[in-house]
Symmetry: C3
Subunit: 257 residues, 3 copies
């Protein structure tokens, strides 16, 4: 089983070319899209998407992620073997949040040209290097066949919550399609409370900490622990992000009341 | 075979998490997307989408639909067994238009925790309850294993056409991506005519009842029976809805001429 | 293996109805989306998408493409057998760019009603004629069973580059989701150079001919040979098309410097 996470969008044929490349090598591969709508070039968002979805896939699944602004330069192509499966993509951090969560065992540089397409372009390694690597791996080629082991992968820093005098200095990790603002505050930081005070750049809100979206009135704001275990700010049947003009990356100060 | 209809969009990882949950339980499941772009929280549109597509799937197919603004509240989770297959989702009507068309045999409440994910969030039953139910059902678990039979499902009323003095008082059910306005007027109401007069809120049109879109001049309006058997208002190679500012839910008065 | 290229979008249930129709006839079919976001009614763009992706699929793959503004009129439905596989769709040119590249062997008109859905609408041949044809073909029905051979398919002219006094008079074939402007200038026309001068309708640029997007500074323009072998104009991590207001169809005059 091979999953795909990219910033290619669904209009262009690029994602299909990757799938064709995989199926040409391994016609029996099961292919599952995680998303192709990562914001263009946004490695952190790609990492977050992959880390959100990967835990729900079977052990041994192969996850390909291509958010790759440095394609064709000296940045390496890697295969990460974890306790739960495999991750294939550029060595720019997009794989690491999900891979670390599963426990990394080995990382190999993809450098064996026999396991790439015969012609490798300098602009589309998703199709020419990563897709073939996933297809061969899924067919049973051993990870160490792909290239030498490396120990210095690029690992992005994801914002950690800071505590200062009882206030959590946090950040909006992600705004989802419903307009829910997912913060980087894990459940344990707020689990003893039933109300939180949230200060965003231009608004201060005192919010009940609810179990689900429909607990407040229609279009009223609410705080809750979302399905990935982080504090989330939402409106009942509306977009919190639109109403309060919140974007990914915004700072949030949160106090448990 | 399992189909998926949601309002999750394709940007977020939610749809992929559902697929991962299914494939973890049943790695051999065949998954087909109907759409993930139902308008957020629009149960009627989800019901219409599912009812449009379900008749074209093989007998025995399992259809999961998640448009679920009341997730985590007292609203029930259900499995509907019909003469043609199975429907899994919230008990808010989203399943019922399609299920009724196939002939409902039994409805069960999804309440057996052994057939859910080990941890059930209060915000994402698509992943934690509906996806596992579909996966287990596809593997052969009997419908009655999921919970007690119920007989009082929530059933939405879909607008019926009214007749007054030879005028059909109708409604635009749906505007598709081409800008075609699909009404709730079934073929039989207009089948004896070759012209219809259509009154929308701000425009009156006398339209030839054509067989297909290309029968009128480029960008000229036309009426026809669409592929689901309803009267549809269209432009040849253009958007009727944009030209005449028509939205789903708009009233239409139609006379056969 | 069956691929699908349409202008149906992902919001409507049409693409799913096609898949259901295929799977009802042939439950074991492997279905791969190339794209459903071809610009509505844009046959040339559909042809370009299909021709971009088809070479990466296995020999014998069946490619269905539906961009079909003349559906229900006298335009024919065809099946093209090539040295590499099969193409199914309307006889309006959408199949021909990809099919010609593989070497056409035979073209058959789809006219055998036994290999269509029992009821054929006049507005949705994708579901009622093309999907069933692909499903039956994938199951092993011989191409000549579908209808009589024809020899006069509609073949669109794709813009060829003209040379005048050392200047290439070219055209932007396509603007991709990253904002890269793909021209119709093949690699061989510029392969001996390291700089090109590009004149678009309102701007003149002298660009280094690079190997990949990241070779210039952030948000600076660059020219390169894209992954399909054509000269492409790009920004490093930005949208060339947006910055220089370029659209598909725009003329470009290019000189090798």
């Amino acid at each position: 089983m091979i999953t795909l996470t990219t910033d290619f969008g669904l209009k262009d044929p690029y994602m299909a070319e990757m799938k064709g490349a995989i199926l040409t090598i391994n016609p029996n591969a099961t292919l599952i899209d995680i998303t192709h709508e990562v914001e263009k070039f946004n490695i952190r968002m790609g990492a977050f998407m992959l880390a959100s979805a990967a835990p729900y896939f079977p052990k041994g699944a192969i996850h390909v992620a291509v958010v790759d602004p440095q394609v064709g330069t000296q940045r390496r192509a890697i295969l990460v073997q974890t306790k739960g499966g495999f991750f294939v993509g550029p060595d720019n951090g997009v794989l690491m949040l999900a891979a670390q969560a599963q426990g990394i065992e080995h990382i190999y540089e993809l450098s064996n040209p026999k396991l790439m397409l015969p012609q490798v372009s300098s602009t589309f390694h998703g199709r020419d290097i990563f897709a073939p690597a996933a297809a061969h791996l899924d067919k049973g080629v051993a990870p160490q066949e792909f290239g030498p082991e490396i120990t210095d992968p690029v690992t992005p820093k994801f914002a950690a919550v800071e505590h200062k005098k009882g206030v959590l200095f946090a950040e909006v990790l992600y705004v989802d399609g419903f307009g829910n603002a997912v913060t980087n505050i894990p459940q344990k930081e707020v689990s003893k409370s039933d109300t939180v005070e949230v200060n965003l750049h231009h608004v201060s809100l005192r919010l009940a900490l609810a179990k689900t979206y429909a607990e407040n009135k229609f279009h009223e704001p609410i705080a809750l622990i979302g399905s990935h275990g982080f504090l989330e700010l939402a409106l009942n049947q509306g977009s919190f992000a639109e109403k309060f003009r919140v974007n990914a990356g915004d700072k949030a100060q949160v106090s448990v009341v």
